[in-house]
């Protein structure tokens, strides 16, 4: 019988710490009478910063704990820091908005924290069961967050839709896991590689089980063909929550996807290779083609997310350290860019509500040139035009894929990126080229000044602009992280 020791608890100290903080925040929220959200938000922010420092002071050699349920190494630590950074950026933006829109709902920051803990569990999971736990914790918190504007029909619809579809995806993962367990008698990742050697690889249970797990993960990443929920959820939830859904969970799930398929299934790449090629190809093209017709900015960003997930996935085909580094760098720049776009949107209000349609941005370059310039830079970066960060990471992903011998997928990718350039340029067109007189009814944009959003906007823009000048520092960090998997 194995008893839990302090040495085993220590590696997951950051998670423990955050769970304790979450419970404390609940108490604060209940007993504090006024300005609940604000206090809870501050607590959240500081606890996240402490969590990052807890993670970074911990030695980064490989440790498993809780009966091999959780795995801690340089890679998981790096991904956790990434996720928490994304959440910190989102929380920074949320202060003024939450005070205004949800003054009494102190649960929002707490749910964000629970979701973050879920993401950290996903990143660390070393077992199909702990993976399932993490996914559930992460998603359950998100369902509520999406549906929090209760009197808004779109938000309710989005919450319900996400809940039903996501529950289906989670159950697919669960079913796939049980099939695998039935076949090989273990749920631990590290035993998979061994077990696969002993069974015939065309075993239908293995194929079906893996496909189901893969489908569930692909759903969470909003990749084609399980992308349908994305636009509705993005549109329905409040902008802060959209920026959360678009950034942190994607990194968490993707880090697991990379670890599972590149590290554990490395020798069996022929089982998943074709699936990923198809998914990546479809996602890049479908995202690019459908985004053209969107009028709503958030729907537009949803389709853009779909295609960016597809681009990031191209790197997985190389199945080596370079591939992981390229995908991680893609995710970092993507996360920064998307959060920056949301920060720009949150900086603006049109007649007291958030900016929804692309048309409302007309006149932006005249009224608020700084926001317009930032948004333009971010759009060029999303389109992958040099010298902005988006170009370098996209090139990096294509580079490793080509080096691994996949030439057609990058060619498809660049064709899709030309199509995609069209709609990113359209946003710049609306901001800069359209004359005000053409649309006088949309001239009521006002600046919604808040320290957090402005700061996030400036930071993200600086990162995107200067990423190309000195990528070396990030590369070294990525190398250390990716090395842990090999």
């Amino acid at each position: 019988m194995h008893t839990l020791t302090l040495a085993e608890l220590l590696p997951i100290a950051p998670e423990f710490f955050l769970i304790v903080v979450a419970l404390l925040m609940l108490l604060i929220g209940v007993f504090k009478k006024t300005s609940k959200t604000k206090v809870v938000n501050y607590v959240l922010l500081f606890s996240l910063v402490i969590a990052i420092s807890l993670i970074s002071i911990f030695p980064s050699h490989q440790i498993t704990s809780f009966h091999n349920f959780f795995l801690i190494n340089a890679y998981t630590q790096f991904c956790k820091i990434l996720v928490i950074t994304a959440v910190i950026l989102v929380v920074l933006m949320s202060f003024r908005n939450f005070e205004n829109d949800h003054p009494t709902q102190f649960e929002i920051p707490i749910l964000i924290l629970f979701s973050t803990i879920g993401m950290m569990l996903i990143i660390s999971s070393n077992d199909l069961i702990s993976l399932f736990m993490g996914i559930e914790l992460q998603s359950l918190a998100l369902y509520i967050l999406i549906a929090i504007p209760r009197d808004n029909i779109l938000a309710t619809e989005a919450g319900l839709k996400y809940f039903i579809l996501s529950a289906l995806a989670t159950s697919l993962i669960l079913f796939g896991s049980s099939l695998l367990y039935g076949l090989i008698g273990t749920t631990e990742f590290h035993n998979f590689a061994l077990a696969f050697k002993e069974i015939p690889l065309n075993n239908p249970m293995l194929i079906v089980g893996l496909t189901m797990i893969l489908s569930g993960l692909i759903f969470k990443l909003s990749l084609v063909p399980f992308h349908m929920w994305t636009p509705d959820v993005y549109e329905g939830s409040s902008t802060i929550i959209t920026s959360l859904v678009a950034s942190a969970p994607k990194i968490a799930i993707f880090s697991l996807l990379m670890r599972f398929f590149i590290q554990i299934m490395h020798a069996h790449y022929f089982l998943w290779e074709t699936a990923f090629i198809i998914v990546a190809f479809l996602s890049t093209f479908l995202g690019a083609l459908t985004a053209i017709f969107q009028k709503n900015i958030k729907r537009f960003l949803a389709y853009s997310t779909i295609s960016h997930m597809g681009y990031a996935l191209i790197g997985i085909l190389s199945r080596n350290q370079d591939g992981i580094e390229s995908m991680l760098s893609y995710f970092i720049v993507y996360m920064v860019t998307v959060i920056g776009v949301f920060a720009c949107l949150l900086n603006l209000r049109n007649q007291g509500r958030n900016v929804d349609t692309i048309e409302e941005l007309v006149n932006l370059s005249r009224e608020y040139p700084l926001i317009a310039a930032t948004l333009a830079v971010l759009m060029f970066s999303l389109a992958g035009i040099p010298p902005f960060g988006g170009f370098f990471v996209k090139m990096n992903v294509f580079m490793v894929a080509i080096k691994a011998g996949y030439i057609l997928l990058p060619i498809g990718g660049v064709i899709a990126s030309v199509i995609a350039a069209f709609y990113y340029l359209r946003i710049i067109k609306v901001m800069y080229f359209n004359k005000t007189e053409e649309n006088p009814s949309l001239m009521n944009l006002e600046r919604y000044k808040a320290f957090g959003t402005t700061m996030v906007m400036n930071i993200t823009a600086l990162i995107v602009v200067f990423y190309g000048l000195y990528p070396q520092m990030l590369m070294l960090a990525l190398r250390d992280a990716a090395k842990a998997l090999f």
Partner: protein
């Protein structure tokens, strides 16, 4: 001179000027005035620096000079690697010479968002000079592609009525071409392990692969040049861009395509270049004849000049792919001379447009009687565009014609037809606009060119005539570089003489 990073200084100086303009804050009127002043001073300083570059340039040296190499991303052995040879130097001088002129030309014309306009032009200058200096494929691609951003904004914000369509067409056409070049660059990196062009040029690619790589580079450069049939973005972009934008487009951006052929396609893929040369000849001949015929039919002045650009660039592509000393010399000369001539033509059209706000040829007549100075300088440009001996237009076309003789007689005939047609449309254009009596009331109040306009129109005329009478400096500068480019082709050229 060894210690000073002169090239980087030239590349970065316009951007520093742009940054200074960004910081200007005051009331709108003085911001505009200061922005103009800073932009002009920066671009003149850049021009002077490039003259220093010319001064220290070693003509006899066949390698790249002013080399600067800094490790950038060691993981991909990516370097910030710049340097110039006799081919890039003329283009750098052309750029630094024309940018102050374009800024002067927009002095009293661009009245809104002056600050942003000047920033866009200076950033554009940085990127253009950078792409002429880059000796690393990825670095070149970054500069080459980033040029799209300021140009897109210049066309889209300060352009004419149909500017949005033109800006999108320009951006997407060029992007669609260059992404294939990116893939080719990555394939090269995968095979050679570096993107340093000096090292890549030592590598020989196997034949079917070399064809594909060549084609990928070709698409990108052909769209930029532009060659028939991917030229359709050019008339739109030219017509809608503000005058200074058209000048930069025609004079410099198009040359990046020709420069790309010389710098990358020929040295890196010699066999593929030879294999595809006959197709290039056909496309060039079509471009020369077809674009000239289309130019004859144009009613819009800017469109006419745009189509004449396509025709003149046809000479360039033809000359490059003859792989002879005459051909490449002629192509290089033609690029520089066309850069100057087309700049002058667009500036003239811009001046007329500023007075009357119309570009339709039919609305003009007898301008000469109102603007004698203007008529004189415009005549020089027109004659140079035709290729009259004594102007710079003549030298390049003559050399390309000579080179085409070595290929096949009927090709010379077809290209020569293009020269005759160019005389037809250019002279007819001049006749309709400048000669005759003033028929339109709007033209009564035309005034002759101002001092500022003289200041930028006359230098162009002087350069045209100087290069026409004494073309030697350009040939001396580029001699060794051209010899280096054609050296791989000489052993095989004898056997393919009947190509």
């Amino acid at each position: 001179m060894e210690s000073l990073p002169l090239l980087t200084l030239i590349i970065i100086l316009p951007s520093l000027g742009a940054f200074a303009i960004l910081l200007i804050k005051n009331d709108p009127q003085s911001v505009a005035q200061n922005a103009r002043g800073v932009a002009l001073l920066t671009s003149i300083a850049t021009f002077l620096l490039s003259l220093v570059l010319l001064n220290y340039f070693k003509i006899s040296c066949s390698d790249f000079q002013f080399l600067e190499k800094y490790s950038w991303v060691p993981k991909f052995s990516l370097n910030y690697y710049v340097g110039i040879d006799g081919i890039s130097l003329p283009f750098i001088l052309l750029t630094t010479f024309l940018v102050p002129i374009t800024i002067l030309a927009s002095w009293n014309v661009i009245l809104e968002k002056v600050k942003e306009y000047m920033i866009a032009f200076l950033v554009l200058e940085t990127l253009i000079i950078g792409s002429f200096c880059a000796l690393d494929l990825v670095l070149f691609y970054i500069f080459f592609e980033a040029v799209l951003i300021p140009m897109y904004l210049i066309i889209g914000i300060w352009g004419g009525k149909d500017r949005v369509h033109a800006a999108f067409k320009f951006f997407l056409f060029t992007l669609a071409g260059s992404v294939f070049m990116l893939i080719a660059i990555l394939v090269i990196y995968g095979e050679v392990g570096t993107t340093d062009i000096v090292e890549v040029s030592r590598h020989t690619f196997v034949i079917p692969k070399q064809y594909w790589l060549w084609a990928a580079f070709f698409i990108s450069f052909a769209i930029k040049v532009p060659m028939w049939p991917v030229h359709t973005w050019l008339p739109n972009a030219h017509v809608e861009a503000p005058t200074a934008g058209s000048v930069i487009l025609a004079a410099i951006l198009l040359k990046m395509g020709g420069y790309g052929f010389l710098r990358f396609s020929l040295p890196l893929f010699p066999e593929a270049s030879q294999f595809f040369a006959p197709y290039i000849f056909s496309l060039s001949i079509i471009a020369v004849v077809y674009a000239s015929l289309v130019a004859l039919a144009q009613e819009d002045m800017k469109k006419l000049v745009a189509y004449s650009s396509i025709a003149h660039m046809g000479f360039v592509t033809f000359g490059i792919f003859t792989f002879t000393e005459y051909g490449i010399k002629g192509a290089l000369f033609q690029m520089i001379s066309h850069g100057i001539i087309s700049a002058g033509m667009f500036l003239c059209v811009g001046i007329l447009y500023n007075h009357t706000h119309s570009r339709e040829i039919i609305r003009y007549s007898g301008v000469r009687s109102k603007m004698p100075y203007f008529a004189f300088i415009f005549m020089i440009y027109i004659l140079a565009s035709i290729g009259l001996p004594g102007t710079s237009g003549f030298v390049g076309e003559l050399l390309v014609l000579l080179a085409s003789f070595e290929k096949k007689g009927w090709m010379t005939f077809m290209i020569g037809l293009g020269i005759i047609l160019s005389a037809a449309y250019a002279l007819w254009f001049y006749k309709r606009v400048m000669l005759g009596r003033v028929m339109n009331k709007n033209l009564e109040k035309l005034k002759d060119i101002t001092l500022v306009e003289k200041l930028y129109l006359f230098p162009i005329g002087v350069v045209i005539i100087f290069l026409g009478i004494y073309p030697k400096p350009l040939f001396t500068v580029s001699k060794t570089a051209i010899e280096k480019i054609i050296s791989p082709f000489y052993p095989t050229l004898k056997t393919e003489g009947q190509l």
